[in-house]
Chain length 264, copies 2
Amino acid sequence: MGDPVAESGFQAFAAHVVAEHDKLPPQLQRIAQFVLDNPGRVALMTIADLAEEIEVQPSGVIRFSKAVGYTGFSEIQRILKEELSAPTSYEARLRTASDDGSELARAANLADASLSALPSAADIARAADILTGARIVHVVGFRRAFGTASYLAYLLSGFQAPVRQFTGIGDMADTEMQTLHADDVLVAISFPSYRPETRAVVAAARSVGTNLISITDSKLSPIARGAAQVLITDQQTDAGFRSVVGSMVTVQALALEYGRRRST
Amino acid sequence: MGDPVAESGFQAFAAHVVAEHDKLPPQLQRIAQFVLDNPGRVALMTIADLAEEIEVQPSGVIRFSKAVGYTGFSEIQRILKEELSAPTSYEARLRTASDDGSELARAANLADASLSALPSAADIARAADILTGARIVHVVGFRRAFGTASYLAYLLSGFQAPVRQFTGIGDMADTEMQTLHADDVLVAISFPSYRPETRAVVAAARSVGTNLISITDSKLSPIARGAAQVLITDQQTDAGFRSVVGSMVTVQALALEYGRRRST
DNA sequence: GTTGGAATGGAAGTAAAATTCCATCGCCTG
DNA sequence: CAGGCGATGGAATTTTACTTCCATTCCAAC
């Protein structure tokens, strides 16, 4: 609250090491250099690993730790681990700091977090490859995922994809499912609580051998089983409301990769 | 062996866990879920930390490790650490995301830009105030905006709002419009090219005196005229593809502000 | 050359973490 | 409702990692 930017433990550590570096004996200087150059790796190593890699004795690592002002290597490693697992980039922290209590600020922060946990580009590309070979692309998503599913269907139809969306309109769910075919692809979008309606469509696809692309929040999601490609996004963070931004960005990327394949 | 891409230890681990998941007792399923959903964090935790977070006993973590085919938790953690420090790790992806030429990177950058140009929290709050007094909240948006409109309708119905969405299903557009009333609010969502269907609904609302909230990209948008509140978002910046993330975040914030008013 | 102090090596001791094992609990089955 | 079995809780044990401390080496000054 007081400081505009609070100094992280890691930044303080780095500053100490730089300040002390010239006063250290040669061996400890080598340790200092390695730790500053590979903080991520050091966070995952034991003292023994580290000592072996630098060709030093374990006790040297302890001496280094004390020489730069800490009680031992464990304290330094704790700081490095915090830095490695900090999900907040500098930018994200700035945004969080500007949280003024409005739902808009919360929604924007949530969306920002979603953008840090998207599927990999390689997974999207694989999914797009699967789409390319489809006779028909079916899209399913209900309730929270319905908007995302609609958007995907809209984008794909813009690329002249043979796409149809499961809507459940007119009490025709059974009839809709009968159109699934082994040469087709089903893109299923579902998040907790996974709707039984969506799961039923996925089950129908499995039973007739339709290729499945699942956009969901966990590898253990009920719609992930048997999928040719799973795209993980919008994982539940801790507090309160769930964003749908991750899945929107994911389907946009998926559709554009598909379009790129169609046009070249 | 014959695989073109050698399977990483982590991929094998994930596959094992997914395969065994259903056979595991409930407690071990929770552990499985947590580890698959947070591999990066688990790589840095001790068994005790992990056990505390999931609220199980340390021994449960060991049972999980053996149940999915490993000798103990240490072996699993070794695999997770390798994955975390591998060049294809999540951290590395983030760093290169802005210049790898994938549609995902483009989509994520576009979404990020959208988050910098949202409506003001005050405008959202005013719009939420208007919603609160409505007899019925009508929502309209077609094609690109249909997903956003659906999401808004879904969120509002979650707060027991009297909401209905214009869908155009069954060639009932005329009939749908006849339900507009002076005590109602219409939330219209539209972006270039502004669909005539949406404009027709807005015109109908104007003619009967329905309050209008417009979510669009410009104050000069055809649906902005006569609106009680205009929320500007997703303005086209560059020549490329248009994101829909700004409007999704906007409707989420709007719905949550509405919910806050309803519950207090 | 000898001496003193800093630097390093390495083994022993201590702390922490992982694993084992047994007791209890709860549920299903007969 | 009694018996058995799988699941869970928790203490005890083993293993691993961290830290300390003393011995040795190196180097510079006298």
